[in-house]
């Protein structure tokens, strides 16, 4: 065998090894975090950590429940705002928009999806927080003094501000995924529906949305997992003070990623503190990986069915 084929063989082996590296990376990350988190799991039962909101690192009590519910609270708000907006925009782009307009809107959205999370955070502090403080909070908290609205936090740094910023951040991402799914539906399907006398909205509602439903669900899951992991922007606007379980959208909240990012300076000084933070990262990893596997499973399945 000559030298060229040896090179080829060597390259093939190396490339294969790199692929194996990618396949193992996820397990490495999970194992590394688990390894670092194990001291805190050994010190107390995992139920006590997951389901208690008793967070006093200096006394060795690491209940993460408050942070987990905080994450869900902010993400939930973001999804409630982002999903209808994304879905309507994606339908418009895929079904109604003239090609020329789409050629303008899509690159702009891609451009904006690349903006740094910190910049979204700056915008949140400058615009969203004052909006919540001066308008939304006095209005809703004054007129509807019950469950999700009653609050005595007048700073504007709140779960709602976090949710709104997150919603703005994940919409371009969800829109492009949803649009791709809808545009992947063969054109003949639309034509058959239109030929039967359906209006274009009826076609969209009863044919396109029905056919695209799994893909749309996947897009929502992916957007959701993006929102769950988003750190800096939320850290800057959500207030990050722990108040037990969320009681109002206008209260401050302290999601998991913000906890991780906020404690990087102090975590080495208290015993087990760093292990608890690594456990928080591990929980975040597990949530996002499960969501992503489900969503990409759906999308890959759709792709393979079509080809």
């Amino acid at each position: 065998m000559d030298i060229r084929h040896w090179k080829d063989l060597l390259a093939r082996r190396l490339m294969f090894l790199l692929c194996v590296f990618v396949l193992s990376l996820l397990f490495c990350i999970a194992w590394g975090l688990y390894h670092k988190a194990s001291p805190v799991l050994a010190a107390g039962s995992w139920q006590a950590i997951l389901f208690s909101s008793d967070w006093h690192p200096s006394q060795g009590r690491f209940g993460l429940a408050g942070f987990i519910t905080g994450t869900l609270w902010v993400t939930g708000l973001a999804v409630v705002v982002a999903v209808p907006l994304s879905l309507l925009t994606a339908i418009f782009l895929a079904e109604y928009c003239p090609v020329r307009l789409r050629d303008v809107i899509k690159p702009v959205m891609e451009l904006l999806a690349g903006i740094s999370p910190v910049v979204y955070g700056v915008w949140g502090v400058l615009v969203v927080v004052p909006l919540v403080r001066d308008h939304l909070m006095p209005f809703f908290s004054g007129r509807f003094p019950f469950f999700p609205f009653a609050s005595d936090n007048y700073t504007g740094f709140s779960a709602l501000a976090g949710g709104l910023v997150l919603a703005v951040m994940v919409t371009p991402f969800m829109i492009s995924l949803m649009e791709e799914v809808m545009r992947g539906i063969p054109f003949g399907v639309r034509e058959s529906s239109l030929a039967l006398g359906a209006t274009s909205w009826q076609t969209t509602k009863k044919v396109i949305l029905k056919k695209a439903a799994p893909g749309i669900v996947a897009a929502v899951i992916l957007g959701l997992s993006r929102a769950i992991g988003e750190t800096m922007a939320v850290l800057m606007v959500a207030g990050c003070a722990l108040q037990g379980f969320p009681r109002s959208i206008f209260d401050t909240t302290y999601p998991l990623p913000a906890l991780i990012a906020n404690t990087y300076g102090e975590m080495m000084s208290v015993p087990l503190y760093d292990a608890a933070i690594m456990l928080a990262a591990l929980i975040l990893l597990i949530i996002t990986v499960v969501f992503n596997m489900a969503a990409w499973g759906i999308l890959l399945h759709l792709e393979r069915r079509e080809t």
Binding site: K7, M15, L18, L23, V122, W123, W296, L300
Partner: protein, 283 residues
């Protein structure tokens, strides 16, 4: 008017409203950053390092963070490209079209893409402790490389999928090995797209803060060693905003503007490349 038409009309209005809200809020972000950042933007900001008491309103600039971010981004991009390129060539040239192994690698890349950057940061931190490193340029580079690897690899993968199979067959039929085909034919053909993927990953790596918070640290001096902490632009924005002094905060807005400008020019450059560099590409 018929009920179906009314429904159609209502939803059209809703859709237009949604589009306006989405585009409007994004334009609003840019306008806010521009209006707030432009007045304090000055040469001093990008040509000087922070002087004593910078974070209390004294003179200086953020050259340290600017250079730090560029270096970190370049290093991470090179590292990630060194892993991503072989992988995508392997997936597209060496494996069969419907290979299960290729499917698994793509699936894992997608899942890795979805892992939040703060988790990469925490993992980078455990790696750092494992290898006995302190927060440094090198640790930051490795962490960011892991973060952008899936983005870059999937971007390149999409490009290589587009290269026609005939081109590969023609090269192989002439007696070239797969490696030669990859390096001399497919790479050239896909080069503009590959460069786009690299630039996008670079932008993403530069703009992320959560991954470097643990691993790259922060410093007021210029980056001078792989093993010393390094300042990064997103963190400079974050820290300046965290101070109670309005003049420091407004410099934070200017820093945010610089960061956005860099990311935008990268993205626009990538677009121009895909459009302009198709000279050597066989249609």
């Amino acid at each position: 008017m018929d009920k179906r038409k009314v429904e159609e009309y209502i939803f059209k209005v809703l859709m237009l409203g949604a589009v306006l809200i989405v585009i409007g809020s994004l334009v609003f972000i840019l306008a806010t950053i521009l209006v707030k950042g432009l007045p304090t933007l000055s040469w001093e900001m990008i040509t000087k390092t922070p002087q004593g008491g910078y974070y209390m309103g004294k003179g200086g600039g953020i050259l340290n963070a600017l250079l730090g971010s560029l270096l970190l981004g370049i290093g991470a991009t090179i590292l990630a490209a060194a892993v991503a390129l072989p992988i995508v060539f392997y997936l597209n040239l060496y494996l069969r079209r419907r290979s299960r192994f290729a499917l698994a690698v793509r699936f894992f890349l997608d899942v890795l893409w979805g892992i939040p950057s703060v988790v990469y940061g925490a993992f980078g931190f455990t790696l750092m402790i494992f290898f006995g490193l302190q927060a440094s340029l090198l640790a930051g580079m490795i962490t960011v490389a892991l973060l952008v690897l899936p983005i870059m690899a999937r971007g390149m993968d999409e490009v290589l999928k587009m290269v026609t199979f005939e081109l590969q067959e023609a090269s192989l039929a002439l007696g070239a090995t797969r490696l030669e085909t990859a390096g001399k034919v497919i790479f050239r053909q896909a080069f503009p797209g590959i460069l786009t993927a690299v630039l996008m990953a670079f932008g993403r790596g530069m703009s992320d803060a959560a991954a470097v918070l643990f691993t790259a640290g922060f410093t007021d001096s210029l980056p001078y060693s792989l093993f010393k902490p390094v300042a990064t632009l997103p963190l400079a924005v974050f820290f300046q905003l965290g101070t109670p002094f309005p003049e420091v905060q407004s410099r934070g807005y200017a820093a945010a503007l610089i960061l956005t400008a860099i990311v935008f020019s990268l993205s626009i450059l990538a677009r121009l490349i895909t459009r302009g560099m198709n000279k050597h590409v066989i249609k």
